[in-house]
């Protein structure tokens, strides 16, 4: 030890950081690639997006602060209000179609006694097809020509030909059908695993109490899969907020903006109008909406059990004193 050196302050941040690193240096090294990639591909673009949204832009570079000008321009664009409303329509239809269908399929699949693996594979199969291939395939099926596949089927059933994606009222529900067709398989498997974790004795007890099939689902199955349903519900909303390539490929956001989503609008600003500032502003608005909805949802769905156990803790402490 040098005579003139002072002992390092053990409470200082730098001392504690050094100690943390020295103690776990190999762990830090293991984390380094992931950490660097995370900074490079996630945090830096996120921060840059926020900066761009408040900047005048030259290509994708910020070329000076312009306050809320990008946001004002976005809010004044009639396509933004359409995209915002449409995004909520996507959520509505995805709850009706995309959220309930996998629950229903999961329940059905759990009841199947024979060929379970076959049905499981069948339901999951669309998920392994490329997303773009799926939307292109469905675009062909939704061809409004009366001679096209689906219209021929409708005609055989005596139903008049549909304009499908060219009908503004049908565009979003049909895009959601496409998304559900591809995405339901994965969700069904999650539900299935939750359903298989339910103890059979509970069903037997319910049966002995005289509960019918529907009653067993309502009183035994659903309470057990409720946490899974809750988690997938919020994930569903977040993913539907990011709906992008389906309307891009199937309708380009049309007809007349009837299927444009916020993310598609952001893409159109960036890559068709070359307005990176407006695109970034839409991205920030979208992020704020998702954060707000998530917070509201988490508050509303906080399990009462927690409140009860906290009360119990307080009560127990009181007694112990």
């Amino acid at each position: 030890m040098k005579l003139n050196s002072l002992p390092e302050d053990r409470s200082s941040v730098s001392y504690r950081a050094k100690r943390l690193f020295r103690r776990n240096w190999s762990g830090w090294l293991l984390m380094l690639p992931g950490l660097l990639l995370f900074v490079f591909f996630v945090w830096a673009p996120l921060a840059q997006n926020v900066i761009l949204s408040f900047s005048e832009t030259d290509g994708f570079e910020a070329a000076g602060f312009n306050s809320f000008e990008n946001y004002v321009r976005v809010f004044n664009d009639p396509m933004f209000s359409k995209a915002l409303v449409n995004t909520f329509k996507y959520i509505f239809w995805s709850i009706i179609i995309g959220f309930l269908v996998p629950i229903f399929l999961g329940l059905l699949l759990s009841e199947v006694a024979h060929f379970k693996s076959f049905f499981r594979l069948g339901i999951y199969f669309p998920a392994i097809v490329s997303g773009i291939a799926v939307v292109i395939m469905w675009s062909y099926l939704f061809d409004p020509n009366p001679g096209a596949v689906l219209n021929q089927l409708l005609s055989a059933l005596g139903i008049p030909a549909s304009q499908f994606l060219s009908d503004p009222k049908l565009t979003i529900p049909l895009i959601v059908v496409t998304m559900t067709w591809r995405g339901a398989g994965g969700t069904v498997l999650v539900y299935l695993s939750a359903l298989q974790n339910i103890d059979n004795s509970q069903y037997e007890a319910a049966r002995m109490d005289g509960a019918g099939a529907l009653s067993r689902v309502w009183h035994v199955t659903l309470p057990h899969v409720k946490p899974t349903i809750r988690m997938l519900f919020i994930l569903q909303i977040i993913s539907v907020f990011q709906v992008f390539y389906e309307p891009l490929v199937m309708t380009s956001g049309g007809p007349d903006g009837a299927s444009v989503s916020l993310l598609l609008l952001s893409y159109q600003y960036a890559f068709q109008s070359f307005d990176a500032g407006a695109s970034a502003a839409v991205g920030v608005i979208l992020a704020l909406i998702i954060i707000a909805l998530t917070v509201v949802y988490l508050r509303l769905s906080r399990p009462k059990k927690d409140k009860i156990s906290k009360r119990w803790l307080r009560y127990a402490k009181k007694i112990n004193r």
Binding site: L37, D58, G59, D256
Partner: protein, 470 residues
């Protein structure tokens, strides 16, 4: 032992992280020129042709290294490629694009290099204007196109619109020389009615309405219905004129066609759809550029002998225009002068220059031979260069290699010089996008669409959001 292994793994991961963020490159001392229009590797005959040009070029200019760097221009990718400085030295785009690429400095000024080669004054004046700004040149035209009407002659013959000669070829004119094919929008409607009556699930015409292709087509239709211009420039101020009476009549014509089931009923069709619908015989007529006539043949095995390409119809009996555009070669914004010079010289080896020496003309011929070997239709085209010696030699080659009945294209190419008209000058793609929305509305809701109101909305949005920025 375990700890040692763990430490080694950690060190490897750390080193990997550091190396993954380090880049290294080593040049060979040559000037690299990357070629964006290099064909896809699956097109072996085209690749062989490019490799031959590369071999000849590198033998004559050993200081250059030609590199294949295929890039299909699209508005969706150009911003990212240009910002990351990943554009090839030379690539092709559309005539609608250079102005915005120049504004963003994504392509470079080549005036000095092209003047030195003596090519500038040989360029077609309209095409030169499309690749120039403030008197400076930023591109080399590859070829031009004019918008016209594609006809499925077999269908038109079946419904009795046209006749056949004794030799089995189609007859497009009566004895007095008047066209039998539709020359007005009213006649296009009549022919469409015949098609719909005669065929099942088939329509007269396909009207595009997505990805800015709808607006592009519609602007030509609006001119031909009597709209003088969709943008009016007066006293230094540019005013939107999208709701002009001619434009409204054009949109009403489309609406009525949609309402009566005479056009393909899809409200999100873009450029590839016209030849898909023609190729699959879902429609008998389409508006398209003269440079894309082979698309139904190469993609859908459409019989090239059943194709005719005629001038755009008129709506008011007087206005006859053909929207005029094309494909220029442009050069990456970060290309050096040496690279630009090399790329320009390589264009000569490709037969894309006004030069008429043996090397250049042989390159043009090699292009024709390759197309012939692939069984592709070789069609007449609009020339980018106007020097007499070039036109004489290239026209002679055309006569030798064109493998379609030029009679089916004659009316179009005879009139294009009189009818051609450049696209509207300001924020053209944005204008097309707004017009797309109006078109989508009339095609998806033809029973209730109010054309005047739709174009009023598009007009005010175009004025407020774009033209007012000028």
């Amino acid at each position: 032992m375990k700890k040692g292994l763990f430490t080694a793994a950690a060190a490897v991961m750390g080193a990997a992280a550091l190396f993954s963020f380090a880049g290294c490159g080593k040049g060979n001392g040559k000037i690299t020129v990357s070629i964006g229009m290099w064909p896809d590797s699956t097109l072996t005959q085209d690749v062989a042709m490019f490799e031959e040009w590369e071999r000849q070029f590198e033998a004559d200019y050993p200081e250059y290294d030609i590199v294949a760097d295929k890039y299909d221009y699209s508005a969706d990718t150009i911003a990212a490629k240009a910002t990351a400085k990943q554009l090839p030295t030379v690539f092709q785009t559309y005539f609608t694009e250079p102005q915005k690429l120049i504004e963003r400095k994504w392509i470079v000024d080549i005036t000095d290099e092209i003047t030195e080669l003596g090519w500038l004054d040989k360029m077609d004046a309209n095409m030169r204007a499309a690749v120039s700004k403030d008197g400076r040149c930023y591109g080399v035209p590859r070829d031009g196109y004019g918008m016209g009407m594609f006809l499925n002659l077999a269908m038109l013959y079946d419904v009795g619109v046209i006749e056949k000669n004794a030799d089995g070829s189609y007859k497009l004119h009566d004895e007095a020389g008047n066209p039998l094919y539709p020359t007005t929008f009213a006649e296009v409607r009549e022919v469409s009615e015949l098609i719909v009556e005669s065929y099942e699930s088939t329509y007269g015409l396909v009207v595009l309405s997505a990805n800015m292709n709808g607006g592009w087509q519609f602007s030509n239709m609006a001119w031909n219905f009597g709209c003088d211009a969709l943008q009016v420039e007066e006293g230094g101020k540019v005013t939107a004129n999208l709701n002009d009476a001619g434009a409204v009549r054009a949109l009403e014509w489309i609406r009525d066609m949609a309402n009566d089931g005479l056009i393909y009923p899809d409200a999100s069709l873009s450029y590839s759809d016209w030849y898909a619908k023609i190729g699959s015989k879902n429609v008998a007529m389409a508006f398209c550029g003269s440079d894309a006539l082979m698309m139904p043949v190469t993609n859908f095995n459409f019989n090239k002998d059943d194709i005719a390409f005629v001038p755009m119809p008129t709506g008011d009996g007087e206005s006859r225009y053909s929207l005029y555009g094309g494909t220029p070669y442009v050069f990456a914004g970060n290309a050096t002068k040496e690279q630009v010079k090399g790329a320009l010289l390589f264009l000569k080896y490709m037969g894309r220059s006004p030069e008429t020496d043996a090397l250049s003309i042989n390159a043009v011929e090699l292009g024709h031979k390759t197309a012939q070997a692939k069984g592709m239709p070789i069609l007449p085209s609009i020339r980018p260069w106007v020097n007499e010696d070039y036109l004489t030699k290239v026209n002679a080659l055309d006569e030798k290699y064109i493998n379609v009945n030029t009679y089916y294209y004659k009316d179009f190419f005879d009139t294009i010089e009189d009818y051609k008209r450049s696209e509207e000058p300001y924020y053209c793609q944005d204008m097309y996008k707004l017009l797309d929305n109006a078109l989508q509305s009339v095609i998806s809701k033809p029973g209730t669409a109010n054309c005047q109101a739709l174009l009023d909305t598009a007009n005010s949005q175009f004025q407020n959001n774009y033209l007012n920025k000028l």
